[in-house]
Symmetry: C2
Subunit: 207 residues, 2 copies
DNA sequence: ATAATTAACTTTACACCGTTAAGTAAGTAA
DNA sequence: TTACTTACTTAACGGTGTAAAGTTAATTAT
């Protein structure tokens, strides 16, 4: 039985090797520039071997997509211990933008690339749910202590996510440098995030 | 001289034909699926002819990028006559999201695709400036009547743009349908936009 | 022990892609 | 009529994702 076990192990190892190579190339050069052939070259296997482990290119990058969410979760996890809901919301926004700016390729893959969404299809996207679930709960907790009175929790959560995502997305795709003065553009992500939080705080303080 | 003029006219016509074909294919099938060869097929010229009129593929789509901004401008122009600045801001947000949802491929090209930004490089991006300039002026006008007191006009404008862009971007890339309940997802763009405007209104009403 | 089967991987090939260099045919100018 | 220019095409290079068929070695069955 040990032979079969070794083989099973080797299959898992090769799968991991493929993903390691894919991750390295992807983080260095982005999605478009990373080809199945590049990955195969890097691990010294033939390109078609990769198709024995993944359905297609999107399937490979869907695995990285999931890695991205696992990483985001690592960023978010410490915030579970922030007891004040609004402080937690503020920390969440900062951590989210930090994650995005420090892992732009991952962020792109997770939220702005058309690519591996075909792969995930109707699937559960549990990791994505978890992150959004944390935001949802945080907003709910804020409402429990008097913030955001009378607003729909789900819609508000989505809106807050949109706000912060918009900031990161515009910055990553370089649509702001063209339109802002240099002084304003410096640290614009931090400035805009602070602006959002300021607005949320002033809007509806707890009675 | 008339022959030279006719030739000049024909060159302009062919350029326009290329762009017409590119636009049709692009709006039907998106950027990745639209190839130089497809465009050439459609107009019954050889692929290489296109390179006599455009530097490369990005250069073709940069022309469409500009068309997109011209179209957005058409959407925005009527709002110049809305005298109340905050009403104008509200209308602008709605018009912007309407434009995005009715022209998702254009919107993608303009704001979320890496593609033709290489082409525009250090160039002026005047059309983009105009749209942002209108927002900037509207926010300034809002501040003149007491809204958004003490906030940096440029940062706030960028933040507002980010908010609305985030809403459109998440919707277009389908990152919300996975995470929202069906009921909330219905009309989420309109709901989230309304939410943003509600927050902006409640946050800092004029004295 | 030998034959049949299976697993893991490779070779080859197809149909695309963006782009360049060289070739061609028609029109213009000398 | 000859030389040149313009507008376009053909052919080709080096790349892509992916499917089908081939190979080789290990395992199982007889």
């Amino acid at each position: 039985m040990s032979i079969a076990e070794r083989k099973e192990r080797q299959k898992i190892e090769l799968r991991a090797k493929i993903l390691d190579a894919a991750r390295m190339l992807f983080l260095e050069q982005g999605y478009e520039q990373t080809s199945i052939r590049n990955i195969a070259d890097k691990i010294e296997y033939s390109p078609t071997t990769i198709y024995l482990y993944f359905k297609d290119k999107d399937d490979v990058f869907y695995a990285l997509h999931q890695e991205g969410f696992a990483l985001l979760r690592q960023f978010i996890r410490p915030l579970e211990h922030v007891s004040n809901p609004f402080e937690r919301l503020k920390a969440l926004a900062k951590v989210y933008t930090t994650f995005a700016m420090e892992n732009t390729e991952f962020y792109d893959l997770m939220f702005t690339m058309p690519a591996p969404m075909n792969a995930l299809q109707k699937e559960e996207w549990t990791e994505g749910d978890m992150a959004f679930g944390f935001l949802l709960q945080t907003i709910r907790d804020c409402q429990a202590i008097g913030y955001f009175e009378g607003m729909d929790t789900e819609v508000l959560s989505y809106t807050v996510w949109s706000m912060v995502h918009g900031i990161c997305s515009l910055e990553i795709r370089g649509r702001c440098s063209k339109v802002l003065s240099d002084a304003t553009h410096e640290n614009i992500v931090a400035k805009a995030t602070a602006q959002v939080l300021h607005i949320l705080e002033k809007m509806n303080p707890p009675r």
